[in-house]
Amino acid sequence: MPVKVQVPAVLRPHVGGQKSVEASPGTLRDVIAELVGAYPSLSEHLLGEEGQLHRFVNVYINDEDVRYLEGLDTKLGDGDVLAILPAVAGGSG
């Protein structure tokens, strides 16, 4: 069973308008590499120049923020759900 990747509205133009796409199980790094292989323009939206996740992108695996897991080394198994969200924040300060 593949990993399900939920794609936010701002990134859908880069994946042919799909709300979700599938990828093979592996580490988050592997999954992102597979996505970028299939949809090259996603790369600059997800990763910084040194290959790290952009600070304005939050990535959750089964509702857990990967920053509190093992980051790009976090493993995704069969049927896991990967959610990519543009960060939400702000305030008067």
């Binding site: 509205a9 701002v10 709300k19 939206h45 952009h54 304005f56 939050n58 959750y60 509702d63 923020d65 959610a83 969200l85 543009p86 960060a87 939400v88 924040a89 702000g90 305030g91 008067s92 300060g93």
Partner: protein
């Protein structure tokens, strides 16, 4: 001017949630339908401000993910992302603009500049690229009915 139609119970619920959050900023989402010239609010999703700050907000991750899942299951868009300014006017701050990554959502700000008379205004924040730190602010008329 574009409009954002907000039923009165949703508007009142949003202001009440912001009041409960004082003295910190409060936040949440409003699900609904996003249209070209008019968006419509249909469901309020109050959230905890994980930053617990009077000058910054960041919705609790789990509450936000649950809200997004509920919207997805009910065919709703993220019509609005709201938060309060506890002591300043209802206009996007440089922080609000820098952190705005949802081009179709109306950013609603509830101001408690005058504590006895809170008011809300809505804005779209347009960016050339969604990751830009700066953008153009367009006011959206809030129609409370």
């Amino acid at each position: 001017m574009k409009t954002f139609v907000v039923p009165k119970d949703i508007y009142d619920g949003m202001v009440a949630h912001c009041l409960e959050g004082m003295p910190n900023e409060a936040c949440g989402f409003i699900g609904g339908k996003v249209g070209g010239n008019e968006s419509v609010a249909t469901k309020l999703y109050p959230m905890t401000n994980a930053a617990a700050s009077p000058v910054f907000y960041r919705p609790d991750d789990r509450e936000m993910l649950a809200a997004l899942k509920d919207m997805d299951e009910n065919g709703l868009d993220v019509a609005s992302i709201f938060h309060s300014h506890v002591a300043t006017r209802a206009y996007p701050s440089p922080t609000d603009i820098r952190e705005a990554h949802y081009p179709d959502a109306v950013f609603v700000i509830v101001s408690f500049e005058n504590r006895d008379d809170p008011y809300a205004k809505g804005y779209l924040i347009h960016k050339q690229d969604w990751r830009d730190a700066t953008g153009q602010v367009e006011e959206v008329e809030l129609v409370v009915e």
